[in-house]
């Protein structure tokens, strides 16, 4: 039957709401309104579909599946700790990519043989990109959740395997377009999944956020292609919007982190990704007790706090804030230095510190605070490592080489609160830990901070 005219009109409204959503999310003032606008658009589009007069054979199962999926998404999003949020976004992204690929598979099973060329191309594209996004996102999740190593995984002959899989994937894609068969479709899906995993495996710690953003754009394109398969305008618009904005966002992120996008993208092919140092040799470091650290901080004129992921894991944001308040009360100038990728994603640390009600004006961005370090008495690094590692400036072989860092080594003294000598997420040794002006206080960030605060109160 003909689709009533108000259906495409409702889709148009939804598409506009999606555009306003992205627009809103680009500015702090309108960000929440942007989210709401997107959600309303999605709700409208989904509701309209049920009354649009399309064939709905399995209505009960469909409604149950929608509800079950929504509840799973809702619970996951509500329960997740803010520290684990990046990997949840990766999982959601994988779900979207998987859904797009499966939609194309079902549609192919219905109309595949004897379909026109454009339909076949769009189907192949959806399955390929959706599959890559799905498995790539799962591997990203495993890395961020530390269920597997966070270091770049370089398989023996990984480069050859990757190229081989890439060639086979493209070959099966072309073959499927030329002579459609279900067997080829399954082969394409499996190869895409393998390729997605191979694509992400060699990516090192610092590049993972960029990869999430990139896979997000991939899923967008895959959804757009599935819209082509289904002749659904809204899917084309929504998917393309995400694909385009995601691509731009990926390059903005890469720029903010000083990472050449090409090395992230083609790491799997070039085989040049470094495994990182980690020689493991025993070298002398200067360890101190909480009392010593309290004295160093308490008699400084200017202190800069560098919060990292370790702070967030230990849930020590409020304790750090207490310390900052105590120091401020003693007339000491205190600032927080926020690296663009402190935490696990751009802006992640801002979210975490905002959660602990740290005053916004004390949060200083990297470019703003870097000149201040040379005039700083003590820098307190809490659970951060890679973002203050001078290897990013000097060691051309380091996986983080070229990433802009906080110049804490310019300060008079540096104090690291660390759990152990274990290297950071990127898995590389930090020379600064062995510098004579560096003091280490080992232990859980929250424990250590609490002890420092107690000592400081007694001074």
């Amino acid at each position: 039957m003909m689709t009533p005219v108000w259906v495409p009109l409702a889709y148009l409204v939804a598409a506009v709401l999606f555009i306003l959503s992205l627009k809103g999310l680009s500015s702090p003032k309108t960000a929440r309104l942007g989210t709401l606008s997107g959600a309303v658009g999605a709700l409208l589009a989904t509701a309209v579909l049920f009354f649009s007069g399309i064939k709905l054979n399995n209505l009960t199962i469909i409604i149950v599946a929608v509800i079950v999926g929504s509840v799973i998404g809702l619970i996951a999003a509500r329960q997740v700790k803010m520290t684990a949020m990046p990997q949840l976004v990766a999982l959601f992204n994988g779900a979207g990519g998987g859904a797009a690929a499966l939609v194309a598979v079902v549609e192919y099973l219905e109309y595949g043989s004897g379909a026109e060329l454009l339909f076949l191309i769009a189907t192949v594209f959806t399955v390929l990109i959706g599959g890559v996004s799905f498995s790539g996102s799962i591997v990203t999740y495993l890395k961020l959740q530390e269920l597997m190593t966070t270091r770049p995984v370089v398989l023996p002959a990984g480069r050859i395997i990757t190229i081989l899989v890439a060639v086979l994937t493209v070959a099966s894609a072309v073959a499927l377009i030329v002579s459609p068969s279900t067997l080829l479709l399954v082969a394409l899906l499996v190869l895409s999944l393998i390729f997605g995993a191979l694509f992400v495996l060699p990516v090192g710690g610092a590049d993972v956020p960029i990869v999430i953003s990139l896979l997000n754009a991939f899923t967008g394109l895959s959804v757009a292609a599935s819209g082509y398969v289904l002749s659904n305008v809204l899917l084309i618009v929504a998917g393309t919007l995400v694909g385009a904005s995601g691509t731009l966002l990926t390059s903005l992120m890469a720029k903010a982190m000083g990472r050449p996008l090409t090395s992230t993208l083609f790491g799997a092919f070039s085989g040049t990704t470094q495994g990182g140092g980690g020689t493991g040799e025993e070298r002398p470091v200067r360890a101190a007790g909480p009392g010593d650290v309290a004295i160093m901080l308490g008699y400084a004129n200017k202190v800069i706090l560098v919060p990292g992921y370790g702070l967030a894991v230990a849930q020590a944001q409020s304790t750090l804030r207490e310390l900052a308040d105590l120091l401020t009360a003693r007339g000491i100038e205190v600032d927080y230095a926020i690296h663009p990728v402190a935490g696990r994603m751009p802006g992640h640390m801002n979210v975490l510190l905002a959660e602990a009600s740290v005053p916004y004006e004390q949060l200083k961005e990297m470019e703003e605070i870097n000149p201040d370090f040379s005039a700083t008495d003590v820098v307190l690094v809490v659970g951060a490592n890679d973002v203050v590692n001078p290897a990013a400036r000097s060691d051309t072989t380091a996986p983080i080489y070229g990433m802009p860092i906080l110049d804490v080594d310019n300060a008079q003294q540096v104090v690291f609160l660390k759990r152990s000598m274990r290297p950071g997420f990127a898995g590389i040794e930090n020379e600064l830990l062995y510098d004579p002006k560096t003091t280490l206080l080992f232990g859980d960030a929250k424990d250590s901070l609490t002890k420092v605060v107690t000592s400081l109160k007694g001074m």
């Binding site: 997107g38 779900a95 997000n216 757009a224």
Partner: protein, 100 residues
């Protein structure tokens, strides 16, 4: 709709997509990515469409999985984005309290 019309929409959407996020601040990179991530969850309607038109059990099973994944992406994506932004809002309140 014919292929060329769909292609037109596709190309124009690329430009809109680039344009809307061109002035985003670093702080909002993560929420923006998460919001965009939620929007592609609209593939849910694709899942519903193919499952509704399904003529075999295999299609229905695959379609239902697609619906589940799409709904997770869509609902979870928007909720987690809102939670992230809620953190920023609580910051403003905290600032307000300090002024008082």
């Amino acid at each position: 709709m014919d292929g060329v019309a769909l292609l037109t929409i596709f190309v124009l959407s690329i430009f809109v997509g680039f344009e809307v996020v061109s002035k985003v601040s670093t702080i909002l990179h993560t929420p923006l990515m998460s919001g965009a991530n939620a929007i592609h969850g609209i593939v849910l309607i694709g899942g519903i469409t193919v499952t509704g038109a399904s003529t075999s059990l295999v299609q229905t099973i695959i379609g239902v999985i697609a619906i589940l994944l799409g709904a997770i992406n869509l609902v979870g994506g928007f909720v987690v984005t809102d939670r992230m932004l809620g953190m920023f809002k609580s910051k403003k309140t905290a600032k307000g309290e300090e002024v008082l």
